[in-house]
């Protein structure tokens, strides 16, 4: 297993040359290094995707702006969506799962270390393939550049007739390749959690982080595979003249929508379950209380996993599926708010009466609670089909799902960065810079995405590259764009904090938060073998038991 990779660069030995270190990182099968590779890779793409968003917002800052051409605008929103979902959100969450799950369950590595490396490199090359389209997609026709078919790439826009050149092929292949990477990582997570837990850690004593990522991995297996199948069909259509999505030959454009959203909606939960996982670890530690209602949290997670696979067609109310189908998806979509609401109440109950420490990770988690609630509420609004007919494909939808993905997922992700940065780097981050990041990003987020709901309600459709003045959209768009600059400033402070703290930060010690899960029982950063002795646990908070032998948790669980 991982014991082969003990060649960890240590300060005592002569420092290895740059080429040697690079080589070690490239051939590594260590879950911690792969986790960091995932995270760094995702951060690079976060900046790229963020620049694309900024370009779009500058274009929309006032009516009749001509900052970019309509063609470039189409490429920007396609690349922004694809990049952020497949090459930022998924890799960064896989990175944290990779790094933390073995440490939290007291294992020395993932179940399949080499498969783990395979998964990372597939994802990495998928991202490179997508961006290679910028130079490689011209093809024989001299048309096309980056993909411009939107991130859900509806048929027949993706057919050879309407997408000449190779830009759509790069999009398809990038998602296919990274999809294989995601599926293999998910298989690895499932096998790790089921097969490598340390003695005493029954499923009911596993940290919630592991539980939520376990359900996430299950969803990846069941949801990314349909996307893979659909991409194979699209490739057959484009290269071999098959007719899956070719309406001229009797094929159906709507079935692509179904196939895509059968992936697309569970994908939202693939992204948000790890966010819940971060919150479920961080909120208890900074409230100095055990998580409230552990069994219910697990049950709600599994319920979300199941229900999330039966809600996909709420993305398609405007297609005209018929009253019965619409009704089913309205009800299932509303139903998923119930287990999600249970979670929010449990987090609140965890904070309630706690001794709250407002450190940066906790600030991000509290903001997450409020923002995710609002995101969920606009989600319930749009789950009603008639409401969706009015606002489908408007900026209201854009505001809603950015509220989920930025306000919910990205905020907990920042919390996770600050919370586990001491463990991963061995250094403490700068608290003032962290707080500055929080406030800048909070202000920017609310300026952008609160006010984005309004032009949507006023009828502004998504994906337009410009608009007429005098429709009441002008001021709102200006405010939305101003918010982007606050967010960008926040991100710069964040990246600066990471870099500065990595080189100049104070040593953090193995347990800076007085936390309770197993990753804090080993050094920071952990040695290649994680634990010198595989631990044995008796409760959900093994480190609490260790620190309080007079009043251990296992007496009550």
């Amino acid at each position: 297993m991982s014991t082969e990779s003990i060649a960890w660069p240590s300060t005592t030995a002569a420092s290895p040359s740059f080429v040697d270190r690079l080589h070690e990182w490239i051939v590594t099968v260590d879950h911690k290094r792969l986790g960091i590779l995932y995270i760094v890779y995702a951060l690079i793409f976060l900046v790229i995707g963020g620049v694309e968003a900024t370009v779009m917002r500058i274009q929309l800052i006032r009516p009749h702006n001509d900052f970019v051409s309509p063609e470039v605008f189409n490429r920007m929103f396609t690349m922004h969506g694809t990049t952020m979902i497949f090459f930022v959100a998924m890799p960064v969450l896989f990175g944290f799962a990779n790094y933390l799950i073995p440490l939290m369950i007291g294992a020395r590595d993932m179940a399949f270390p080499r498969l783990n490396a395979f998964g990372f490199w597939m994802t990495a090359f998928g991202g490179l393939l997508l961006y290679f389209s910028l130079v490689g997609a011209n093809g024989l026709y001299g048309a096309g550049n980056a993909p411009d078919v939107g991130w859900f790439a509806y048929a027949p826009l993706t057919s050879q007739t309407f997408s000449v050149g190779h830009s759509t092929d790069f999009w398809t292949l990038a998602l296919l390749v990274s999809g294989f990477g995601s599926i293999s990582t998910a298989i690895n997570i499932v096998a790790t959690i089921l097969c490598l837990r340390c003695p005493g850690m029954t499923l009911a004593k596993m940290p919630l982080f592991a539980w939520l990522n376990f359900v996430m991995a299950g969803l990846v297996i069941l949801a990314v595979s349909p996307l893979t199948a659909a991409q194979i069909m699209l490739l057959l259509d484009r290269y071999l003249g098959a007719h899956f999505f070719d309406t001229q030959a009797g094929g159906s454009a709507v079935i692509w929508m179904h196939f895509f959203w059968i992936f697309g909606h569970p994908e939202v939960y693939v992204l948000v379950l790890p966010a819940f996982a971060f919150a479920s670890e961080i909120i208890p530690v900074f409230s100095r209380k055990a998580i409230f209602g552990y069994p219910v949290m697990v049950g709600a997670t599994v319920a979300i996993g199941f229900i999330s696979m039966s809600v996909w067609a709420h993305h398609m109310f405007t297609v005209g599926m018929g009253a019965n189908v619409n009704t089913f998806f309205v009800i299932s979509t509303m139903a998923i708010a119930v287990p999600t609401g249970i979670k929010i109440f449990n987090w609140l109950a965890t904070i309630w009466g706690g001794k709250i420490e407002f450190k940066t990770p906790m600030l991000f988690c509290i903001a997450f609670l409020f923002q995710f609630l609002i995101a969920g509420l606009t989600g319930v609004m749009m789950s009603a089909a008639p409401f969706d007919w009015q606002l489908g494909n408007s900026y209201f939808v854009v505001a809603h799902f950015h509220y989920v993905i930025v306000g919910g997922i990205l905020f907990t992700l920042f919390a996770a960065f600050y919370y586990w940065f001491p463990k991963m780097s061995g250094k403490m981050y700068s608290e003032p810079l962290g707080k500055l990041h929080f406030w800048l990003f909070l202000i920017g987020f609310h300026l952008t995405f609160d006010f984005m709901h309004v032009p949507g309600l006023l009828g502004m459709p998504r994906r337009i590259y410009t608009y007429e003045p005098g429709r009441g959209w002008d001021t709102w768009n200006l405010i939305v764009t101003i918010g982007v600059f606050f967010q960008a400033a926040g991100i710069l402070v964040f990246l600066g904090n990471l870099l500065w703290s990595y080189y100049r930060g104070k040593a953090a010690g193995s347990d800076p938060w007085d936390a309770w899960t197993l990753e804090w029982s080993t050094n920071s950063p952990p040695p290649a073998y994680n634990f010198a002795v595989i631990p044995t646990v008796k409760s959900r908070r093994p480190l609490w038991d260790l620190k309080h032998p007079d009043d251990p948790d296992w007496k009550y669980e």
């Binding site: 297993m1 014991t3 179940a111 399949f112 498969l115 599926i183 998910a186 298989i187 690895n188 499932v190 096998a191 790790t192 089921l194 097969c195 490598l196 837990r197 003695p199 005493g200 297996i221 069941l222 949801a223 990314v224 595979s225 349909p226 893979t228 199948a229 659909a230 194979i232 069909m233 057959l236 071999l240 003249g241 098959a242 007719h243 899956f244 030959a249 009797g250 094929g251 159906s252 079935i255 196939f259 059968i262 010198a532 002795v533 595989i534 631990p535 044995t536």
Partner: protein, 198 residues
């Protein structure tokens, strides 16, 4: 690894978790099943939607013999892994070879059917929706048979050099799990293509 047992006191029950090979393969099978589901749904959705011929009824006949071969290979691989668990290496090799042969016969069946469809009936993947869905679904399954045969043959080569021992029974079981899945998928494909689809 040896330190694991040190922390366990004698009174506690032994800590046992499922093997990672079996769990990993099961998860892979779940993912594969999801991929096949999408192709099967597409097949069912497009039955009778083709705008031009040939139709399934005109050109398809159920391949009973080849189906029999593939399904019996599930039985032979089971006997093979049972022989290995009993350390009967000679019998293991014979059953394993028979499994490969049966799989290869099935693949020949698919190939000859495709050859007939393409050269006699003029049906390709771009002819009509039937061709599109037929070649992609049967082809996806055939691809899995090929992958399975490559894995089985690799084991066979090792077995011929005497490198497969009783201790490998667990791994052989993991591989046979995959082969059973390939066979089970064929039952679905057969039902969809040759029973419902005609």
């Amino acid at each position: 690894m040896t330190t694991t047992s040190l922390t366990l006191s004698r009174t506690e029950p032994e800590w046992r978790l499922p093997g990672r090979g079996r769990i990993g393969m099961s998860a892979l099978i779940a993912a594969e099943a999801a991929i096949f589901t999408i192709f099967v749904v597409a097949y069912l959705f497009y039955i009778g939607q083709s705008l031009s011929g040939p139709t399934p009824r005109e050109v398809l006949s159920p391949p009973y013999f080849y189906t029999f071969c593939l399904l019996s290979s599930s039985l032979t691989i089971h006997f093979a892994s049972r022989s290995l668990r009993r350390s009967n290496l000679r019998s293991f090799g014979a059953w394993w070879l028979l499994t490969i042969t049966l799989g290869a016969i099935f693949l020949y069946g698919t190939a000859s059917e495709w050859h007939r469809l393409i050269y006699t009936d003029g049906l390709t993947i771009s002819t009509n929706l039937f061709g599109t869905t037929y070649y992609s679904l049967v082809g996806l399954h055939g691809f899995h048979v090929v992958v399975g045969l490559v894995c089985l043959s690799t084991v066979m080569v090792f077995a011929l050099f005497g490198a497969v021992k009783q201790g490998h029974a667990e791994r052989i079981d993991v591989l046979s799990l995959y082969w059973h899945f390939v066979d089970a998928v064929w039952i679905v494909v057969f039902t969809v293509v040759y029973v419902i689809g005609r």
